[in-house]
Amino acid sequence: MTTADPLLVVDGLVKRFPVSRGWLRKPDTLHAVDGVSLAIPRGQTLGLVGESGSGKSTLSRCVVRLLTPDAGRIVFDGVEVLALDPRALRAFRRRIQIVFQDPFGSLNPRMRIGTAVREPIEIHHLAPAGDADDRVTALLREVGLDPSFAERYPHELSGGQRQRVCIARALAVEPECLVLDEPVSALDVSVQAQVLTLLRDLQARRGLTYLFIAHDLAVVRQMAQRVMVMYLGRIVEDALATRLYRIPRHPYTAALLSAVPAPDPTRRANRIVLPGEPPSPMAVPPGCAFHPRCPHPRKDTRCERESPALRDLDGTRVACHYAEEPARGPAAPAP
């Protein structure tokens, strides 16, 4: 297998949740992820963007097998992940790790930082007892923390330092792939950039593959070679970052891009404000799920009837009947 081959492939992934409507009533089904396919080449970053209810977090938890999908395939380095027996699954978990948004909730408040980072090394028997401390020291250094942090407790650390600890902990098992679920959303702007730079450096040094999930398109742009946009459990657009930010093909992508408030008061007027709110994933509209909010000038009854297939358009995958025509309205930001 060459390095151009994808490390992670997801094919037709479906995850549903039963939702109780009260006893004696048949539970409803929530389609959190509805037939998602993606591939990430080794050493690259795929950005996954969507608002609440888009299914991006469910998808990420399926990929690391914290959730078991209802249908579809996950192939990691040629291995069918969903077919693994418990023993092989345990070995697989070493190869892919997840870092969550909230560095406060992800660390045990009563466990010293050193112990927290050492724990995965011990669970996976990755170092003889005497060497574990050296490994912890090296990991803390690698994420830009002084080794003396090993003696501290999480509450003594700032948000950025805590997120560095979570990254060190994920790296402790020497994974090849990290799923980063909103890793900087809880951090201050001045600290966000520090953590993003660290993640880029680690990727270059260790050849890591990232699935980078965020709601902030401006942050994703700094990290990802390819970007996928989700809406109500489905992919609406999947394109090279250089293309997606320049020529968004899906009207939802265009609206998301124009909704990002720019730190530039001269751009105030240039916004598409979408009407309404994302519908509940329990009641996905028929046809194109985006049609009730869609500002596309060509929107018609076809959009209300027929769900658009995800199709290829000059190397971009897009799910819109009218993707050939400009998705951005007259109020789109300048290129």
Partner: protein
Amino acid sequence: MTPLLRVQDLTTTFDTPAGTARAVDGVSFSLDPGETLALVGESGSGKTVTALSILRLIEPPGRIHPDSRVEFDGRDLLTLSPRDLRRVRGAGIAMIFQEPMTSLNPVLTVGTQIGETVEAHESVTRAEVRDRTVEMLRLVGIPDPTRRWRSYPHELSGGMRQRVMIAMALVCRPRVLIADEPTTALDVTIQAQILDLLRDLAQRLDMAMVLITHDLGVAAEIADRVAVMYGGRIVEQAPTARLYAHPAHPYTEGLLQAAPRLDGPAYPTPAIPGAVPPATAWPDGCRFHPRCTHAWERCHTEPPLIDVAAGQTARCWLRAAPGDPS
């Protein structure tokens, strides 16, 4: 123009086991009628405590220092009797918070909660309360307000809840709205709607606004003037266009450079080194100096507020005239 709200030397401290936290330390600004001022800063900069102090919502061990002054419409709110203060809260100055779910009572309908505000401030009949409430729900863009009036908070989405909070804050037609991170908990497409709504309402109701945000993008969308806070102090203040084009304080400059933007480079932006120190241990002199790339000896002395340009002031020695003896 006489300012509608004038905050002068506001200092609010909290006694903690780790020492006295000077959360807000000598903050001064003013707000003209109809103007929107953004207070921008990171967590721990003191922006929320500033807002709470204006409405005297600080509970012990917090303490507003006696030299502080908050003048609203010519009266000092900090010495007002509780009775008079209650009249100002809601009808004169209203406030909305970041998390609408925790600010709404889950067991009362939104109509009841908005109505309570009216009843607290005016003598009105039940029919009038209802009409006012429905009208307000319509004004903030809640579809089908006569039906939504009976809804409970959990039946509404996050965006709708924030609209209800805005309706509740505005139902007594306050002259100043303090909005503390009103869009932070919302999705980006909903954030755009709420910012549009706030801007539209401020104009239509001729209301001044203090918008508290950590997001320079949000401030750029809506503010006439921006005040940047760091370490419990305002370090720079300027008209919006001026601040973004010519930031005078290195912290403002650093924040602008760190903010990820769609038209910026496709790699991580330069960060500001280090982190905000705790309010119990502010550094000497300029509180930003340990993180500042321009810092030199003089920065161990507190810089005064220096006039940089028309309407622009900055608390930085770099802006002092050469040979300034202070």
